[in-house]
Symmetry: C2
Subunit: 154 residues, 2 copies
């Protein structure tokens, strides 16, 4: 029920109503999660599973480590990995040094699926930013990276 804000200013930035930092980032996160969810769903995955596969692309952590990285409880990890393993996306390998722990690795099938999702996600996300200039997209990418890099000490 709202008309579009009209103010057709000329310039690099359009007639954007600033939502504020919190609302802006919050709503952006919902937007992105929605896209990821849709992409994942198209391949029978959930967002969390997709994230799991993403994390495992360049890591082979133990359950514990993985849980910490994802900000989840260990018991949540068990279920998550269970379900992924049941679909052969992921594998548990007994650790050589510690007979209690497993190393979680992605399977070829998991990699393939992850790559497919990546392509789709790239397309979709790029679609979200279609109305931005290249410079703006680059700035956004850098700012996002800056936040992430600063807050994922790993």
């Amino acid at each position: 029920m709202q008309n579009k804000p009209t103010a057709e200013t000329a310039g690099a930035d359009q007639d954007i109503e600033d939502l504020g930092l919190v609302d802006g980032l919050a709503q952006l996160s919902f937007l992105v999660q929605g896209v990821l969810g849709k992409v994942a769903a198209e391949h029978g995955l959930s967002v969390v599973q997709l994230r799991l596969l993403g994390v495992l692309r360049d890591r082979t952590p133990g359950m514990q480590e993985l849980a910490h990285h994802l900000g989840l409880d260990k018991s949540s990890m068990t279920g998550l990995v269970d379900r992924a393993e049941r679909r052969d996306l992921v594998r548990r390998t007994p650790s050589a040094h510690d007979r209690r722990s497993f190393l979680v690795s992605i399977t070829p099938q998991g990699q393939q699926l992850a790559r497919q999702c990546e392509v789709l996600a790239d397309r979709q996300i790029r679609g979200l930013t279609a109305h931005l200039t290249d410079a703006q997209r680059a700035r956004l990418s850098l700012l996002a990276s800056a936040l992430v890099n600063h807050h994922s000490p790993l």
Copy 2:
């Protein structure tokens, strides 16, 4: 979900590795969702409930409309509103024009809770961006708003 095209483009920032647009936004969304989840949890809410309250700040939609706005199924809405109503955060009011439909509105308690979360979230999110300059924060806010404004089906 990790690319590694590095390329330090024109950013006055130092040691930031650019994750790329997709990974950057994806990981940022996880980061923000994590913060929101933590904030919500501190008040006994889930992210979705918090979002619900957020949406109802300036709207009083019907179930259907609400579902569409949140990208959820109607049946999901029933449960969501049920749980929120059980906690007196939200209320169903029969529509005057259509005896089938309800208008969902936030209660004073819901508003209060939402506002508390907002304050907390503001603090946390601002914490995430503590290492940015004011200008960068403003730019980020604007870019996020630009994406959201452009892609919110409203």
